[in-house]
């Protein structure tokens, strides 16, 4: 009997517990509440986001914004489920290369007429192109980062090589010869390419040489062509690793952060990384470690490179699209964009924000990055349907094998083009 009573008590306690933690809160008396899911994750960036939300709430008592911290991990699946269930946040932070599926699926609002002229004019056309699908604007691109070379400054100075600047960058052949000169053998390399995910790095940098890989046919369908310009970057990396021995083969399977211990330990003179990696370098570099940011090499198209900016979108299901767009406008005013950019160690897309002295300082080489902003273009494949499958199943293994020396350029071309077009055709029937 005692046991039965204990079981009954436990069951009752459980029911009470469940009842106690149910419930959603709900909306507050007559006011509009917008949910803003942010993917900011670095301490300074989260602080900047929260401050801006608090400022908005203080100024707009009738339209309250609720800050929800999201996660870059599985964000696509999480948003897709929320859209399907009609429970998506009103204002959505994401990356432009994730938007195409949502835009074509009808989950995002067209912001074309909701945004004020100020914001539309402040962001360059090339950035808007990353969020425009079928003539409609599905997100506001607000933060972006170029890929740069982060270099061991002392090593470079002592070697006597020419130090490149945004005005006089290295050409790709010059870059190769510099890394040959810097590589001293015995475990010391001129460059370490962290190419765990080789596709976006290769495609984005290839724009500098005029390589686009994805081309639109007159009927609007995309097709893959691997031309001479597309081969410049892959061949440089391949030859650095397999011909000159000036690049470490061991880092090909690494992510950017994985190469930092070797970089700090003097194994590599340079590492191509995103501009925001400066934050990790400032935090983690040994005392006295002298580093600097150099522009990525330039090709026939100069310093052009592809980026997928971070974006803010409004859910199509949101009943308060106008208010959500007004919040986005407030959030992305030039001064606020500067705060967000500094918090994330990235570049703002807005031209007014880019003029801010805080982003043109020599400290931590902000000025070098800012000088690259006008060369940034939409990542070549982000609006191509079928790109994720092509990237995962065709391009990633093909590039990994090519970079490691397992296959040659002809085989790489064959796989990227023939296998790739088969994938794209399935999506474009």
């Amino acid at each position: 009997m005692r046991r039965a009573r204990a079981l009954a008590a436990a069951a009752a306690a459980l029911v009470l517990l469940l009842a106690g933690c149910s419930g959603d809160g709900g909306d507050s008396g007559g006011r509009i509440t917008l949910r803003f899911q942010s993917l900011a994750w670095q301490q300074e960036s989260v602080a900047a986001n929260k401050e801006l939300v608090a400022e908005w709430n203080a100024r707009h008592p009738d339209v309250r914004v609720e800050y929800v911290q999201g996660s870059w991990t599985s964000v696509h699946d999480q948003l897709l489920t929320s859209f399907e269930g009609g429970e998506a946040p009103d204002v959505i932070h994401d990356a432009s290369d994730d938007l195409a599926d949502f835009a074509y699926g009808g989950y995002l609002a067209d912001l074309g007429k909701l945004l004020p002229r100020r914001l539309r004019a402040d962001i360059p056309r090339a950035s808007w192109d990353t969020t425009t699908f079928g003539g409609k604007v599905y997100g506001v691109p607000f933060l972006q980062e170029p890929r740069v070379l982060i270099a061991n400054a002392r090593w470079l100075k002592e070697s006597g090589v020419r130090i490149p600047t945004p005005d006089k960058p290295w050409s790709w052949p010059e870059f190769r010869s510099v890394t040959r000169e810097l590589g001293a053998g015995k475990g010391k390399y001129g460059v370490a390419w962290p190419l765990k995910e080789p596709v976006s790095a290769t495609l984005n940098l290839s724009l500098s040489a005029g390589g686009e890989l994805f081309h639109r046919r007159p009927d609007g369908k995309a097709e893959i062509r691997f031309e001479d310009a597309d081969a410049v970057v892959p061949r440089t990396v391949h030859d650095q690793v397999n011909v000159d021995g000036s690049a470490s083969g061991a880092t090909l399977g690494m992510g950017g952060s994985d190469t930092l211990p070797g970089f700090f330990g003097g194994k590599y003179a340079m590492v191509p990384l995103g501009f925001s990696y400066r934050q990790q370098i400032v935090q983690q570099a040994p005392k006295g470690f002298d580093w600097q940011v150099l522009p990525a090499p330039a090709g026939a198209d100069g310093l052009a490179q592809g980026v997928s900016p971070q974006t803010l979108s409004v859910a199509e299901d949101s009943p308060h699209k106008k208010e959500a767009a007004a919040f986005v406008d407030f959030f992305l005013r030039p001064a606020n964009m500067v705060r967000l950019a500094r918090g994330d160690w990235m570049l703002p897309t807005g031209e007014e924000a880019l003029k801010d002295p805080a982003l043109r300082t020599e400290k931590n080489d902000w000025a070098t990055g800012t000088a690259l902003a006008r060369h940034l273009r939409p990542a070549p494949a982000q609006s191509v349907r079928g790109y994720p499958e092509w990237s995962d199943k065709v391009a990633t293994p093909a590039l990994q094998e090519y970079y490691s020396g397992a296959i040659g350029l002809d085989e790489l071309r064959k796989r990227l083009v023939e296998d790739g077009n088969l994938v794209l055709r399935r999506y474009q029937r």
């Binding site: 046991r3 436990a10 069951a11 459980l14 517990l17 469940l18 009842a19 933690c21 149910s22 419930g23 959603d24 809160g25 949910r35 993917l39 994750w41 670095q42 301490q43 989260v46 609720e66 929800v68 911290q69 996660s71 870059w72 991990t73 599985s74 699946d77 999480q78 897709l80 489920t81 929320s82 399907e84 269930g85 009609g86 429970e87 946040p89 990356a95 995910e197 992510g255 950017g256 952060s257 930092l260 211990p261 070797g262 700090f264 330990g265 194994k267 995103g274 925001s276 990696y277 990790q280 935090q283 983690q284 570099a285 040994p286 005392k287």
Partner: protein
Amino acid sequence: MTSRTKGAARAGQYLALLAYLVFLVFPFLWLLSTSFKPARELADLHPTWIPEDPTLANYRQAFDEQPLLRAAGNSLIAALSAAAIAVVIATPMAYVMARHRTLLARAATGWVVVSQAFPFVLVIIPLFLVLKNLHLINSLPGLIMVYVVWALPFALWMLVGYVRAVPVELEEAAAVDGAGRLRTLVSVTAPLLAPGIGATALFAFITAWNEFFFALVLLKTPEKQTLPVVLTHFIGAEGVADLGPLAAAAFLATLPSLVVFALIQKRITGGMLAGAVKS
């Protein structure tokens, strides 16, 4: 075999066991070590086991940046509730399936096995819609319901094995002695099943404690989020991570599982053996 070769064989066995233990415990100890390292040591080309300049800064930052205690509380409620409910539901079902080998019971067992093959992504949207209609999105009861459903097939499968390991002759003997059906189940079968129930509860607890994707999708407000979801807030785009605070938070997140495991470890060992042998 001489006593010398016996000794050498025994030493070899211990060495192999030691190597296996080192292999098992390595990630945990590395996590612990990482959690006390300052940022500069984390990027050292020659990392050391013992931090040279140990710091609590990672723990401080982890607690400052994220509501870890609240998230741990949510995880604990979800995992304990899911484990308790799963066991309460699965035990009688397992008994019926083990003792009455009908076509229906066999079909149910087959379905249990098949249901384990469904990926999360396949079920999440219909599940989301069902929970939405029940007004259980963004609520721990909704999440607990999902965890119970998710843990139930395997729990059932485990418990069927344990029930079959209890000799049916014991129940028959109790009946001969005049015990009723309920009395037999409560006084004879249940105590023998206790280790199996403990093992099953632990399995359900750990499954729910570690689960990430359902919690990410179903819980919308920060107040409701569970620990695995909050841990991902230390990870940025393309997998870049704030390694020190992440290690500190992840180390803390492993502790409850270890505590629960330590508490019922003896019962589990007994349960595993009981389930392993068919009478």
